[in-house]
Amino acid sequence: MNIEALLLSIRLALCVSAILFVVGMPLAYWLAYSRWRGKFLLEAIVALPLVLPPTVLGFYMLMAMGPRGPLGKLWESMFGRGLAFTFTGLVIASVLYSLPFAVQPLVASFETVDRKLLDASAVLGAGRLRTFRRVILPLSVPGILTALVLSFAHTLGEFGVVLMVGGNLAGVTRTVSIDIYDRVQSLEYGDASRTALLLLIISFVVLSVVYGVNRRAGRRVWSAWPAN
């Protein structure tokens, strides 16, 4: 079993979840509350990774991050090194790949917050930021948790995008799913099956925690609503 690959995957997933938490929150807020007519376009873009084959997304990311791609060139001019086949490049690609898994649960839970509560908050003198912090956020805890865990689990299991953007460099871009693929290719079924089982168990435990917490939090939040 390749512990190095597993740790790399976990590190990647943690970075991606953290970034998505920061980026996804304002994006989801805007998607939930904006009245702009063209909003559906952005919604479609955010959802693209759900339907696009990971290799397609990976291909475009590779083109963008390569030495002649716009992102790659920009990065090179700023930091003096390339993006393709690096851990940072992998993080950027994964953030895009997992974006809908963070944004959609957030939008859904923001949208279920009763608009009258937001009106009440405004009338009581609270600006948007305070309304968000004191009303929307606490009432969206289950959605936020779901967003975090889904982006973590989804990144942990990604394969196609990593292969395209990261390649297969031990300790840098060889994630656990790539490692399993490698083992199978070289007929090391025993090793592959142990790693696969471990990934299965981790994914199952993580999802159980989400659903469990969601249920309990859900009950607590909802029971606190006035009956009428």
Binding site: A122, L124, G125, R134, V221, A224, P226
Partner: protein, 375 residues
């Protein structure tokens, strides 16, 4: 918003609001209202969909009128001409919604102190404690809104709005679903608070009982317009519009044609339906041949089992009972006199008169119980 209510006492709320009103039904109409609300409770009365909530939303700054001007005393909250439009946060207008909109995740105490974020903690706690006590919910400070009763939630919502010392209070049917006694005790506490603060309170309701019970100045709104203004009796007893008449508890709103005017007697004769009976009603602005509506309360009609003689009432109509239905301590009787009337009688009368479907009866309507209604 923490305002300086002390120096702004006795400021009127004046509002001129014009805005397209879209109700959930298909009907779209123009809300066009001019209001002046003195300190104290003013009731805004009208049927559902009359534009009451839209008007409140405009005053609170949650909706923007297309045209108009809204002021509290000297302070301009909105003026389409001068392009003034203060956000809700800066208006000093408190608003209790029909759903109350208490924050479900915050305790009663946290809900009430929510609007005092700008105050230092000690002052915030003191103000919160004081108003919780005033509205008799201090014992519930640590409970969540989901854990207290409906009446208590309504008290908390009032306390939360008033603790900010607003310049104006808007109440959108805040006491629906409470029994009369509980309602009265909450209104008493509200009056007690306002006897010290003297701010204009605009109290929206579509319930005639509430208008009667509160007994303050009434503004009646229908279809986006102010249709009458005055004391509850004046507004409720002389509805000028048909929809308002129905919501004001006139069970009978009948179509008729004016036959002739007898100005010396102060009455006119109206034929109900096309071939129905004739009745005498107080003189109104009409000419013979006009189609009019006549509103009569079911409780204002007498029912007799023999033709009554020697009465001052001018309208005696012969008819047949179609149905009788017991509703609590009331018997609702439908009587066909060529046109259908709804008549309220007591269960005792039902027994002694041996009323039953098919029985022949006479209805007696005092002239002044028949109200002339505009379309």
């Amino acid at each position: 918003m923490v305002s300086m209510a002390g120096e702004l006492n006795s400021a009127y709320l004046t509002a001129h609001v014009r805005r397209e009103h879209r109700s959930r039904g298909a009907e779209t109409f123009l809300l066009d209202v001019v209001l002046e609300v003195p300190p104290g409770i003013t009731i805004l009365f009208g049927p559902s969909g009359a534009g009451k909530s839209t008007l409140l939303d405009c005053i609170a700054g949650l909706l923007q009128p297309a045209l108009g001007r809204i002021c509290t005393g000297e302070i301009v909250l909105f003026d389409s001409g001068q392009e003034v439009n203060l956000p809700p946060q800066q208006r000093g207008v408190a608003y209790v919604f029909q759903t109350l909109a208490l924050f479900p995740h915050l305790s009663v105490e946290e809900n009430v102190s929510y609007g005092l974020a700008d105050l230092p903690e000690a002052a915030r706690n003191a103000r919160t404690a004081e108003i919780l006590q005033m509205f008799r919910v201090d014992k519930l400070a640590r409970q969540k809104p989901g854990e207290i009763s409906g009446g208590e939630r309504q008290r908390v919502a009032l306390a939360r709005s008033l603790v900010t010392l607003p310049r104006v209070l808007l109440l959108d049917e805040p006491l629906t679903g409470l029994d009369a006694e509980l309602k009265a005790s909450i209104v008493d506490d509200l009056r007690a608070w306002n006897s010290a603060h003297k701010i204009p309170i605009l109290y929206v309701t579509h319930s005639r009982d509430e208008v009667d019970a509160l007994g303050e100045r009434v503004i009646a709104l229908d279809h986006g317009r102010v249709v009458s203004e005055g004391t509850p009796r004046e507004v409720l007893d002389a509805p000028r519009r048909k929809r308002l008449a129905q919501s004001a508890g006139f069970e009978n709103v009948l179509n008729g044609t004016v036959l002739d005017l007898r100005e010396a007697d102060g009455v006119m004769r109206v034929r109900l339906a096309d071939d129905g009976c004739e009745i005498e009603v107080p003189l109104g602005h009409a000419t013979p041949g006009d189609r009019v509506h006549i509103a009569v309360r079911a409780g204002d009609i007498l029912l007799a089992t023999e033709r009554p003689e020697g009465l001052s009432a001018r309208n005696v109509l012969e008819g047949t009972i179609e149905s009788l239905e017991r509703r609590g301590t009331l018997v609702v009787s439908r009587v066909d006199c060529g046109v259908a009337f709804t008549v309220h009688v007591t269960p005792g009368a039902e027994r002694t008169l041996e009323l039953a479907a098919g029985k022949k009866v006479w209805l007696v309507l005092k002239t002044h119980s028949c109200h002339f209604v505009e379309d």
